[in-house]
Amino acid sequence: MNVGLFIPCYIDQFYPNAAIATLNLLSGLGITVKYPVNQTCCGQPMANSGFEHLTQGCNDLFIDNFAEFDYIVSPSGSCVLHIKDHLHSPTAEDKALGIRKKVYELTEFLTDVLKVEKLSARFPHKVGVHQSCHGQRGLMLAQMSELVDAPFSKPLHLLKMVEGLELVELSRPDECCGFGGTFCVAEEAVSVKMGKDRVADHVNHGAEYITAADMSCLMHMEGILRRQNSNVKVLHIAEILSAQ
């Protein structure tokens, strides 16, 4: 199995530990993972701002870097959803469509492709799980509270394999944190208020850590926690699933 590691730009620049944990987690499961060094960004920040027509450069780069792999795995539901929904190429549309079918968010790759049933991780802490919207409602990593359908959750399924980990219940299990890409600065007041409310739900239920399958939500919530001088920390789910 030939797996390409897609590391979103802001994880590359600000959260290398989440990327290293993803790499180690996959390697630990016996997967050969390659990181194409010329990757930059999926183009989502521009597309979500209404500038999808400026993303062809990003699309072309993505295709050059990733077309060769059997699977493409990324520790970000949001960036994966963008590729799945919007990767196009006027010159190599077949390659673009191929990529859209073989790109996976990390927890869905572990659950659906590798069918992981056991992990050797240990993390003896109280953890709140933030269901990032694009992963949850876009990639359907977990059942959505709005729908009348059977419950399931790929991230929770994996976290339950971690020794010592205690999950905390939330009042609103899948409310958005308010990051929303450029929304976080364009609509600063609402974005911050949403973030404060989301963080409070975790803190009030005794979480020591907040985790998610998307680092961007965590970056936003971390910014708020640190401004509040809180002891509560954020960790990408890959860091918990590979914790020793």
């Binding site: 620049q13 209404g50 959505m144 450029t182 609509e187 007041a189």
Partner: protein, 459 residues
């Protein structure tokens, strides 16, 4: 509603100055969302119902012309006078002409977001005709001289103490009295006289049945019925998308509408109006006002499936924390944000951006409108049509330049992180909107790309 020059972000910023009020507003609407969830989960076939409703509405939109003709024919057979209005102005003129013909200068109105969309109240006021809104919530915002902030719960932004003050001023209730039961009784008593003395009544329409020419109005207070039954002239105003093919389709829509809206199984009254009683006149105004334009936009046409339940507002984390008035349009929230740009792209160019694209709106929508996907698509249209903020345009161009080249990206990343580490004041300042209420991420000593190069040389 005119907001001056303020956009959604600026109006939300003002709304958020009072955090306690934001919390109250959020909790109040979340309570309604929770009631909706409970009601939906009591129906095992809920998702199948939504799918049925969606398919029926798709059929209506694909055959709208035929259904409208059929509906008009049947309604005329029933003795209803049918009018067609191409836009808000014509709608208002038609209503005015009917009132003039009957020498009416005072009337009552119930359940009509369409007349809000057409600004009928203002128009009639300018023509010296007095309109009294009879639904409690609408009456409250009318007394406060404000537009509704929500299409189902028009005064949800007002606390009961504020309503007590308004009633004290306008209806003479005791000062400081804010008991909802008392205030409702006071409003009812006050309105009773109005009902008995007005000769004309305007109502909205929830569903118009093509097969029979009848229309259905769903209310909890029964005001639409009382108004229409006591008046000599009943004028019903509807958008042309309110058509459903058959009476039996109501079995799908009535089950969905109120459960989605407030979590009730059904409204107290689902009133069917078919023909005028002897001596009464019944008029029906069918309004386009941009709907056929929206129908011609492939990406946005299915927004016309909307049955105005407001579930998307109640669930929207942005709406709950910005209030309906921040949308500066008659229909607020996610659905308003995909409808309004069709009416005036420049005026409402901010609304499709007033969302995190979380997708909760599309999941609660009883007719399965892909609201969040349409928000994304409107953003592309608005930018292409030239309504994007010029500073944003520059930033996006810079981003394109940086992210299209691995070489530029790596160096920009290095420089950015160097500045954040060695000159944090360049980013940690008031001009950086992120930093006003959030810390910047801590700066790692190297990027993942740099780490990989050092540690995984075998690649």
């Amino acid at each position: 509603m005119s907001s001056g020059t303020k956009d959604h972000a600026a109006l939300s910023d003002i709304f958020n100055k009072d955090e306690e009020r934001v919390d109250w507003h959020d909790e109040t609407l979340w309570f309604v969302r929770a009631k909706r969830d409970k009601a939906a989960h009591n129906i095992p076939e809920w998702e199948a119902l939504r799918e049925s409703a969606s398919l029926i509405k798709n059929n209506v939109l694909s055959n709208l012309h035929n259904y409208l003709i059929e509906f008009e024919e049947q309604a005329q057979k029933n003795g209803v006078t049918v009018h067609w209005a191409v836009d808000a102005a014509e709608h208002n003129q038609i209503v005015h002409a009917i009132l003039k013909e009957h020498g009416v200068n005072r009337l009552i109105k119930s359940k009509s977001m369409l007349t809000e969309e057409c600004h009928l109240n203002e128009y009639l006021k300018q023509n010296d005709i007095e309109v009294v809104d009879t639904d409690l919530g609408e009456r409250i915002v009318q007394l406060a001289q404000e537009p509704p902030s929500h299409i189902v719960l028009p005064c949800i932004h007002k606390k009961k103490e504020e309503i007590g003050e308004l009633f004290h001023e306008h209806l003479g209730t005791p000062e400081g009295m804010s008991d909802p039961v008392f205030l409702t009784a006071a409003a009812r008593e006050h309105l009773r006289e109005t009902f008995l003395t007005r000769k004309a009544a305007i109502t909205g329409v929830n569903f118009a049945v093509a097969e029979t020419g009848e229309f259905v109005v769903c209310t909890n207070e029964g005001n639409a019925d009382m108004g229409a039954h006591l008046a000599d002239v009943h004028i019903a105003c509807m958008g042309i998308e309110k058509i459903i093919p058959k009476r039996k389709n109501l079995g799908v829509f009535l089950r969905l509408l109120t459960r989605s809206a407030t979590g009730q199984p059904i409204t107290t009254y689902s009133s069917h109006f078919k023909k005028p009683r002897p001596g009464q006149q019944m008029h029906l105004v069918l309004v386009d006002n941009g709907r056929t334009t929206q129908l011609s936009r492939p990406d946005f046409r299915n927004s016309l499936k909307c049955i105005r339940c407001a579930a998307c507002m109640n669930t929207c984390p942005v709406y709950r924390r910005s209030g309906g008035h921040s949308y500066h349009t008659a229909v607020a929230g996610p659905i308003g944000s995909i409808l309004a740009p069709n009416l005036d792209m420049k005026e409402y160019s901010d609304l499709p951006f007033a969302s995190t694209l979380c997708g909760s709106c599309s999941n609660v929508c009883p007719v399965k409108i892909n609201i969040h996907e349409q928000l994304y698509k409107w953003r592309q249209v608005i930018v292409k049509e030239g309504y994007a903020d010029p500073t944003k345009k520059l930033a996006m161009k810079a981003m394109e330049f940086t992210l299209s080249s691995p070489f530029v990206y790596k160096n920009a990343g290095k420089v950015g992180r160097w500045f954040m580490k060695h000159a944090p004041f360049t980013v940690n300042n008031k001009l950086n909107l992120w930093y006003q209420h959030r810390e910047m991420p801590a700066v790692p000593k190297e990027s993942f790309g740099e780490w990989y190069k050092k540690n995984k040389k075998n690649d």
